[in-house]
Symmetry: C2
Subunit: 201 residues, 2 copies
């Protein structure tokens, strides 16, 4: 019986989906994937989610690009996924690590500004002091100007999508810097919601 | 500074959203919420996600009902969320525990059959032997007839939505049965996807 396969040491991955709340959802998703440069990551989509694997910098860059290209259509679009690194159950398959550190999508995203609202949660696995790592993550988000406080089971981030992804990447990198650390992080990032910020129904 | 607030001992919670991929997403969500009996749980929706708190049985029952009532419209609808119990950072607020154990939505869901495809991942916090707990979870899903194997960072479940929720509830309950255990579990559950099962882009 196969069990969970996760991210072996220093292979970062994300399993996510982008949800466009429109009849045109197929076109929005296909368009966003076409506009994203995925040459520096391994990527596979099935009928439930998409998986990206590679160096941390490129995994965050590609995930951000898919989301922002979908969101810039103006439709209500949500990114929802889990980033992961260092799972003891992983293998070395399906990954490109022999890439330089220049994000492939940075230039094409330069002109994209997208207000977002997010909930994220950090799960440092296999260690007793994980609550401190979570507290440090919130401090990092606060330092970077996107932290909006805690909610049950998550913390809220608000701001430009690129700033939010920068904070998430920093938090994930800081939490996983120890050799062999297994860390996962969930994020739900919403753009163009008709609900009011901080309120809603 | 506030940090993550999670689920104190024996308060179960889920932070989730239901994403209808249609122009009618507001109506689908509002309709599903109206059809769901939430009298036995605490529930709050903001502009990013919805949080439900209470006894395990009622949290799973209410989340399942919101998803299935949305999915039965025939639209492509995805449930994406994180269940949680026992976070040391939680407080006792916002919860109804003084309820009996009869699921409020069981009767109204009896006639609802909905084929689904899911990815789930289990995160038992603060313990060294968490990989064994994850392996046990996969065995449970297999015993219940909904397990479809591992993918990177998750395991796949296929089957009727009610059977999948039954498996998720059992897995979550088994993993959190030790006093004070802090466990989280993510699940992305898709209904009516135009993509082919197990493939597609």
């Amino acid at each position: 019986m196969e069990m969970n396969q996760c991210g072996t040491s220093r292979i970062t991955g994300v399993r996510f989906a982008v949800y466009p709340m429109t009849d045109r959802f197929v076109d929005v998703i296909k368009g966003a994937l076409q506009e994203t440069d995925t040459s520096k990551v391994w990527m596979e989509t099935d009928d439930v989610t998409t998986c990206i694997r590679g160096k941390t910098v490129h995994v965050f860059d590609a995930a951000k690009a898919v989301f922002l290209h979908a969101a810039k259509t103006g439709e209500h679009v949500v990114f929802n996924g889990t980033f992961s690194i260092g799972c003891p159950g992983d293998n070395d398959a399906d990954v490109y690590l022999a890439e330089n550190d220049t994000p492939a999508n940075e230039e094409s995203l330069q002109a994209v500004y997208q207000e977002t609202a997010s909930h994220f949660a950090l799960y440092p696995m296999g260690r007793d002091d994980y609550m401190q790592v979570i507290a440090d993550a919130c401090s990092t988000a606060e330092d970077l100007g996107v932290f909006s406080g805690g909610v049950h089971y998550a913390s809220r981030l608000d701001g430009d999508g690129k700033d939010v992804f920068t904070a998430l990447e920093r938090i994930f990198t800081d939490a996983s810097k120890e050799d062999g650390a297994h860390v996962t992080m969930t994020a739900a990032i919403s753009a163009n919601s008709p609900s009011k910020k901080g309120g809603g129904k």
